[in-house]
């Protein structure tokens, strides 16, 4: 699938037994580890080992050892996160592994133009937003990782960082608050930054307005790209609009809960939790040609006209690509 998921050199993943300090140290009574290991060892050399080989195929020991190595690092906190809280190992081994079946099997995402994402250096990916729940953003993250072998660092709404659990997962998956400071820092560090400038206006728009791009905020994303001198890659996502067709909005409830909207779809809330299952639409994610920003003068980010014009150019590109993709599309569930 991708380089990141290929098993590495087998020798590199074997954790030498000497590295366990309590193992080499004086330990008079048989520790739990001993007893456990003796039992498992006896079972493995007997029938169980043979059965496991039959069940899981050859090399299962190595895979199990890799899994234990992962568990060891997680249990002892022996892993790295960056300044933004991005946990590369957890994202690759857990988050992306969980999202990948959804992208490949459920939505059958077709990724086009992944070659427009440079192999290194900063780049700003700007995409259309839709579908009530930001599944489109997560699918784009999978696409960028699997097709361009880069990690997408998304700029998310502040609501994400106010909610418990969600904020923790978002930070570990590499996302940060949509603000100029964070966007610029990430771009200057040479990261792939993803932004959905329509925000809640785009993701929470009624079904009747599907594939009509909403206003692109204040164009702050263009200013960040200009300051960092990185290209802007427009990205058009088709298929996400129909996952949760929003036909109504519980305005009062939304205001009570402090949420931007509480959607009514053909299945939600009528079918209860089953209504939260997205429709299995067929998706296309098209990355467009990069728009360079390094040819502009140094203080271009301070020129509002230029910033608005660039934002409009990006917006038009995405809108036109959307129409083109919609014409090509045979059916929503194709």
């Amino acid at each position: 699938m991708t380089a990141a998921r290929e098993p590495a050199d087998p020798a590199a993943n074997v954790i030498p037994i000497e590295s366990a300090p309590s193992w080499s140290g004086p330990e008079p009574r048989p520790a739990l580890a001993d007893r456990l290991a003796d039992g498992v060892g006896a079972a493995l050399s007997g029938q169980l080992g043979a059965t496991a080989t039959r069940l899981f195929g050859k090399g299962w020991e190595q895979r199990a050892a890799d899994g234990l190595g992962f568990l060891r690092r997680r249990l002892t906190g022996d892993y790295e996160v960056d300044d933004f809280g991005f946990d590369r190992e957890l994202t690759e081994e857990v988050f992306l592994a969980l999202l990948r079946p959804l992208a490949e099997k459920y939505f059958r995402v077709e990724v086009r133009g992944a070659e427009h994402i440079p192999a290194d250096g900063g780049v700003l990916i700007v995409a259309n937003h839709s579908g009530t729940i930001p599944l489109d953003a997560l699918m784009t993250q999978v696409a960028v990782h699997d097709h361009a072998d880069r990690h997408l660092r998304m700029l998310a709404a502040d609501l994400v960082f106010v909610l418990p659990v969600v904020n923790e997962l978002a930070r570990k998956a590499g996302h940060t608050l949509a603000c100029n400071e964070d966007a610029q820092t990430l771009l200057e560090r040479g990261e792939v930054v993803g932004v959905w400038p329509e925000g809640f206006k785009g993701i929470g728009k009624p079904f009747a307005d599907r594939y009509k791009l909403q206003r692109f905020g204040r164009g702050g994303f263009v200013a960040s790209a200009l300051r960092a001198g990185v290209p802007i890659v427009p990205c058009s996502i088709v298929g996400a609009e129909e996952t949760y067709p929003m036909i109504g909005n519980f305005r009062t409830l939304a205001r009570l809960l402090g949420l931007p909207y509480v959607p009514i779809t053909p299945t939600f809330p009528w079918l209860g939790p089953f209504g939260a299952i997205p429709l299995p639409t067929k998706w296309t994610i098209q990355f467009g040609e990069p728009i360079p920003t390094d040819s502009y003068p140094k203080d271009a980010a301070e020129d509002p006209m230029l910033v608005f014009n660039l934002a409009d150019q990006v917006r038009e590109t995405i809108q036109h690509t959307l129409y083109k993709l919609l014409v090509q599309r045979r059916s929503v569930f194709g």
Binding site: S45, A65, G77, L177, E181
Partner: protein, 351 residues
């Protein structure tokens, strides 16, 4: 003629260590340590001690008497005896008195003030990485962070009135060392760590040695200005807990606040482990950018955040789930799996 350095807050560990270190510097003639209590036992003999309550104007007399030219103000601290009101008075009124005395002392050429990255607050709607020029969306509501923000305000005022004095403000991340005694180390010494459910804050530490070195450079001739001081890298609270072998007890944020309020009724050190601003830190975390410290001030911390934490962890009693015990289990199992393979030749396997 060499420098005469006045160091406030020498009753605290950092103050005493710094006073001892600066006294050994060539070009430093005399070091005067100041604090409110009787002479602290840890103070090196090379440091002259003056028992002055910073809240009284007597500090002006000490500055004049010793002809002080460099003032290192370390008496801005979250700790202290006599409760929060007294600590606040020491921090804020003490700083005002000291700055007032400095303003009237023509001999003072350099002022170094210890502040904290807590002045940026901890909030979910703030940028992930703070630079020195960023203003937090919400100022710290109270506690030590508010004190430090007010102290910095008075220092800015002083710098305007005495442009001939070189002023350096150092915003330290949480200082850790083998024998650190701060609200955060009090928290990490608890057998179980209560955390906010659904939050895993990013924390940054600076090692005591680096803190002392930055202060030393600032007191001698380093560029002036305001600098963030933190070790490279970031640790999540969950990582810290696992490295210490201390299980976490995730509580809903309101419940954690309640625990904090109960704990503040207890005696030390439990009471200081759960101050309001520390609970904010343990919920939302805080990370600062140290590019300015590296490029302009000219100092690169020798200890990274994980290294500083490891040094601290090595000097606290292990928790109920020491990492070594967990690795013993996984390593033994891994060893079995990899040993097991060569002992069973290919042809013996059932087809």
């Amino acid at each position: 003629m060499g420098k005469v350095v006045l160091v406030t807050g020498v009753a605290h560990r950092l103050g005493a260590l710094f006073a001892g270190r600066i006294a050994e510097q060539p070009g430093v003639d005399r070091v005067v340590g100041v604090d409110a209590g009787p002479p602290p036992a840890a103070l090196p003999s090379a440091v002259q001690y003056a028992q002055v309550d910073l809240r009284r104007p007597a500090i002006a007399r000490v500055i004049a008497e010793h002809d002080v030219d460099t003032v290192v103000h370390l008496h801005v601290t979250a700790l202290g005896h006599g409760g929060r009101a007294l600590v606040k008075e020491n921090n804020v009124i003490g700083t005002m008195q000291l700055l007032g005395a400095c303003q009237k002392a023509p001999g003072v050429r350099r002022l170094v003030v210890k502040s904290t990255t807590a002045v940026y607050g901890s909030a979910p709607r703030d940028p992930a990485v703070f630079g020195e020029r960023m203003q937090p969306k919400a100022l710290p509501v109270g506690g030590f962070a508010r004190d430090a923000a007010e102290v910095e305000g008075y220092v800015r005022g002083f710098a305007r009135r005495r442009p001939d004095v070189a002023v350096t403000v150092l915003r330290f991340a949480n200082i850790l060392g083998p024998h650190g005694d701060t609200p955060l180390t009090a928290y990490f010494r608890l057998p179980l760590l209560p955390t906010a459910l659904g939050h895993d804050p990013r924390l940054q530490f600076v090692h005591e040695d680096d803190a002392l070195e930055v202060l030393r450079l600032a007191a001698l001739d380093a560029p002036t200005g305001t600098y963030n001081v933190a070790g490279d890298g970031v640790l999540l609270l969950s990582q810290c807990a696992r490295r210490l072998g201390r299980p976490t007890v995730p509580l809903l944020r309101p419940a954690l606040g309640l625990v904090g309020r109960l704990a503040r009724q207890l005696t030390a050190p439990a009471d200081r482990a759960f101050s309001q601003e520390q609970l904010q830190l343990l919920t939302h975390g805080r990370v600062v950018d140290t590019a300015l410290l590296r490029d302009t001030f000219g100092f690169t911390p020798r200890w990274t955040t994980p290294e500083a934490f490891a040094d601290f962890a090595a000097h606290v009693p292990p928790g109920p789930l020491p990492p070594t015990r967990l690795t013993a289990v996984t390593d033994r199992l891994t060893g079995l799996l990899t040993d097991h393979r060569p002992t069973e030749p290919e042809e013996l396997r059932p087809r």
